[in-house]
């Protein structure tokens, strides 16, 4: 791979205007990915400018990383090359919104918060409540693949993105899907962009299906002596007619990290002691539905061995909801060197996987905390004892990442200090479908200019 000598700012100036080009080292540090700064950053105003930038980059062999609010750029491996940052924040228009059709078309730079406000005026919302919610853009959220606790009920973006427009590696403005809620015209190329961290192209427009805001919501919280009891409640709910919109379980360490001090009072009667696990499920509906859900949940929790339980209404509910949503940034704020793994497993297998993690933690003397989602996801937060994190890295590299197949889970590292990536392959081993991913990468990005090296298997 030949690297370009230097990027000529004048060419980029011609495309986006000099005032939208960043060349000073100080400002460029904001676009750093895993310690690597680009030579230049451009802030295009529209899809046409993005196309021009890509064509220029393809001709000059410049490696590109697009970004929104830059809250999740740490996902993935360090780029093998990185010349040009494309800052999508100026593509921040809500293109069209048809509340009557429950459909929406937006540019990727729209912040989730302002999108939420626009939808709330019509009693609608998007179930994209992801970490860094108050800063994140919609495009970055989709590209990052970060999931929301609301997936329990609403699914993930793949279930409510109707179509996309994007710029491929040849600089061509391209689209797939459409703006209607049901559509099988052509390949669903847009699904490939979800979680692709900018490795296939740059999203310039997203069409969504929106959802009616719930009439009212509650969190049912219950405390358990053991994870097995909490998981038993999860299983009972999944075979009942009750369908909560979130279902999360917090390890005792997680509770003290997220809900310590004053925050704990929001839990009301479910105030935990030091060794208890917290089960929290958000559910919604009319007063009659809420009453039915809470009495069923109460009964099922008792059967599962709950010690205490509480029904949490707004505003305490919103507070708990946002603390759980922001688990990743809250923990990184207090422990910047934390290593965070996302582990997916079958719901019935969660107990066994947690036991395995627990035994490895014991063997390597690792401090950790867990946030578990009912759909079959464990966020495992590891707190290294030393800046080098020798034993923690060893445990992840030698024990956890390779054990997925044996124990029926898949693990990826979603956040860690970038220096650790010298020895940690954050994506874990590739599988036999990797050959198809390589072919797709070549199809979308023939010149290999989009975030090279960051994605699965070094794509």
């Amino acid at each position: 791979v030949s690297s370009p000598a230097t990027v000529q700012p004048s060419c980029i100036n011609n495309i986006v205007g000099a005032q939208n080009v960043i060349t000073s080292l100080g400002e460029l540090s904001a676009y750093c990915v895993d310690g690597i700064a680009p030579q230049i950053a451009a802030r295009p105003a529209n899809a046409a400018e993005v196309c021009e930038l890509i064509k220029f980059a393809a001709a000059e062999n410049l490696a590109i990383i697009p970004s929104g609010a830059r809250t999740k750029l740490g996902i993935g491996m360090p780029p093998s090359r990185y010349d040009l940052a494309i800052d999508m924040a100026r593509l921040d228009h809500l293109i069209s919104y048809d509340p009557g059709d429950l459909t929406l078309s937006v540019e990727p730079g729209v912040p989730l918060v302002s999108l939420g406000e626009a939808l709330a005026k019509h009693n609608q919302f998007l179930p994209l409540t992801v970490p860094f919610y108050n800063r994140a853009t919609v495009g970055g959220t989709l590209a990052s693949g970060m999931d929301s606790s609301l997936r329990q009920f609403y699914g993930t973006a793949r279930d409510f993105v109707l179509g996309m427009e994007f710029v491929s590696g040849e600089g061509a403005l391209t689209k797939s899907g459409g703006r209607v809620v049901k559509n099988v015209s052509g390949y669903d190329l847009h699904k490939l962009f979800l979680g692709s961290i900018g490795s296939l192209g740059i999203i310039t427009r997203i069409n969504f299906k929106t959802f009616p805001l719930p009439a009212s919501e509650c969190i049912f919280a219950a405390l358990f002596n053991s994870i097995d009891e909490a998981l038993a409640l999860r299983q009972k709910i999944s075979s009942s007619p009750i369908s909560p919109s979130t279902l999360e379980i917090l390890s005792p360490e997680m509770i003290s990290l997220l809900l310590s001090g004053d925050a704990v009072s929001a839990l009301g009667a479910a105030r935990p002691s030091e060794s208890e696990w917290l089960f929290a499920a958000n559910f919604f509906g009319s007063p009659a539905v809420l009453e039915r859900c809470s009495s069923e949940l109460q009964r099922m929790a008792e059967q599962s061995g709950a010690k205490k339980a509480a029904l949490i209404s707004d505003p305490a509910r919103q507070y708990i909801f946002s603390r759980l949503r922001e688990a990743v940034p809250l923990i990184l704020e207090s422990a910047p060197a934390a290593i965070i793994l996302k582990i997916t497993a079958l719901p019935s297998n969660l107990g066994e996987v947690l036991q395995f993690l627990d035994s490895e933690s014991g063997r390597y003397n690792i401090r950790s905390a867990q946030l578990i989602r009912g759909a079959g996801i464990i966020y495992w937060f590891i707190f290294p004892d030393s800046p080098e994190a020798q034993k923690e890295k060893a445990a992840i590299r030698q024990e956890v990442l390779p054990a997925g197949e044996r124990h029926g889970f898949q693990a990826t590292v979603v956040a860690c200090p970038w220096e650790f990536k010298r020895v940690l392959n954050v994506w874990g081993p590739t599988r036999d479908d990797f050959l198809l991913m390589q072919r797709l990468k070549r199809a979308f990005d023939p010149h290999n200019i989009f975030a090279p090296g960051r994605f699965v298997g070094g794509l």
Binding site: S185, S348, G376
Partner: protein, 486 residues
């Protein structure tokens, strides 16, 4: 070539599982669409290893390969447009695993859609996609076409319920994508494969999500004297933030055809009925039903009936799901279109369909998934009258062009296949089509699998040239070719 090909296939699968006599080929030259294409032979593999071998043999003889489930598809997806080997999955019809606790099932592609739901009903679960052909169509076919159905309004289409697959690529490699657990690292290959109409790979195993069946179901029949009142009710129900489990509409013409056969209790003198279902918790279904009744009455429903029990409910649904069979009593040949529009555009679109029909001398019946704006106009024609057939197709095309003008798409759930390949440029630019082709080539480089589908080929009907969006000016076509009117 043909004799050697068939000998090789018979050697692999035994003579019993290879069909090549002319009378057999006739049975496989059609599917649920109005298209016809004859294969060289049909093979019935037993497992993935057989499929791999079949692909190797087809490659050696340089002939196309086309996967086929039950052949109920409505866009010609399972037809061998350029001849070749049809791989029927009829013998690969085993449910391999049912995991009640995790609400998953692993099935072979030939499993019939409703058989899977029946097999898990004892645990209070079902497979959510429910195309009208669900008693015949297969999960493999559902995956290829990304099949929908009435209840996908609330529960999503096939792609929302597929988690993993085993596939055979055209170079005979066997690959697993996705899996039983969620969020496999890497690109969402399942998301790409579902709905790719058999043009990327042959599917030999599917892992699906099972859905908990609701505690309570209420089925309503709202009866209207004016079509506009019915469509406006649908718009209002959506706008109120109620998502029914299903919201189907039958216009007067269609419901009379259905009633004469099924006796579902549809009122013969009405202009339209809405068949609306709400489900979920007992409390929620009662509330939603009463809200919907209120909206329907407010928008001029003459009467809203509520099915009293499962028997009445099943009868109403029998009327809906057997509608196309009922139409078959009126005319041996009919053309079911599949367009989709934003739901708020329903009233004006139905008026326009009526106008287009009259202009072309057809009475067009409408029976469709109103809740998600997925239209199914039915055009009756006489297949012996070729001019009339061409006029039926051009009438259908005019309807689709109007759907696109309304912000819709060329197909909501039936697929592009060989029915609408020529219409793709109405929605997609050259760049869009080029990238889709590049992706197709990444999986299926020689177009070995299901050639002549999705992408305008210029074969068969000849080169048809259509202007891409925006829709201005007239359509043009190569002289003397194709069913597109100028």
């Amino acid at each position: 070539v043909n004799q050697h090909l068939i000998a090789d296939l018979e050697h692999l699968l035994t003579r019993e599982h290879v069909l090549s006599r002319p009378e057999d080929l006739l049975l496989y030259e059609y599917d649920g669409s109005v298209e016809v294409a004859r294969p060289n032979c049909i093979v019935f593999p037993r497992d993935a290893a057989d499929v791999v071998r079949v692909v190797e043999i087809a490659n050696r003889h340089d002939v196309p390969i086309v996967g086929r489930g039950a052949g109920t598809g409505l866009s010609g997806g399972a037809l061998a447009r350029n001849g070749g080997v049809i791989v029927s999955f009829a013998r690969m019809n085993r449910i391999l695993e049912i995991d009640i606790e995790n609400q998953r099932a692993v099935v072979q592609p030939g499993v019939v859609n409703s058989d899977l739901s029946l097999a898990v009903a004892h645990a209070g679960l079902h497979f959510a996609p429910d195309p009208s052909s669900q008693k015949a169509c297969t999960i493999g076919g559902n995956v290829s076409e990304n099949a929908g159905g009435p209840h996908t309004l609330a529960y999503g289409v096939t792609t929302n319920h597929v988690l993993g697959m085993q596939i055979v690529l055209p170079d005979a490699q066997l690959v697993r994508i996705g899996g039983k657990s969620l969020d496999a690292p890497g690109y969402d290959l399942c998301g790409l494969l579902v709905g790719s109409e058999g043009t990327l790979a042959l599917v030999t195993e599917v892992t699906v999500r099972l859905t908990r069946s609701p505690e309570a179901v209420k089925t309503l029949l709202a009866i209207y004297d004016r079509i506009d009142d019915a469509t406006e009710s649908v718009v209002e129900i959506t706008a109120c933030g109620i998502t029914p489990a299903a919201c189907e509409m039958l216009d007067g013409w269609t419901l009379r055809a259905v009633e004469a056969w099924v006796h579902a209790g549809f009122p013969l003198d009405s202009a339209a009925v809405l068949l609306i279902e709400v489900d979920g918790l007992r409390e929620a279904s009662v509330e939603h039903a009463s809200q919907i009744i209120k909206v329907c009455k407010l928008h001029g429903a003459r009467e809203v009936r509520v099915a009293r029990d499962a028997k009445e409910r099943d009868l109403l649904w029998k009327g809906r799901k057997n509608a196309f069979g009922a139409v078959g009593r009126l005319s041996p040949t009919y053309y079911v279109q599949d367009g989709v529009i934003p739901r708020t555009k329903l009233p004006q679109t139905l008026r326009e369909i009526d106008r287009i029909g009259k202009e072309n001398g057809f009475e067009i019946g409408n029976i469709f998934h109103a809740g998600d704006g997925n239209l199914h106009p039915i055009i009756l024609f006489d297949a012996r009258d070729h001019a009339q057939f061409e006029r039926a197709v051009s009438t259908a095309d005019a309807i689709i062009r109007f759907c696109i003008e309304m912000g819709g798409a060329i197909t909501g759930e039936h697929g592009v296949g060989m029915e609408k390949d020529r219409l793709m440029p109405l929605l997609f630019s050259d760049a869009d089509m080029q990238l889709m082709r590049t992706v197709r080539d990444a999986f299926n480089p020689a177009a070995r699998l299901n050639p002549g589908k999705i992408f305008p080929t210029g074969k068969g009907c000849g080169e048809v040239r259509i202007n891409p969006l925006p829709l201005s000016g007239n359509l043009t076509q190569a002289p003397g070719q194709g069913p597109i009117p100028s």
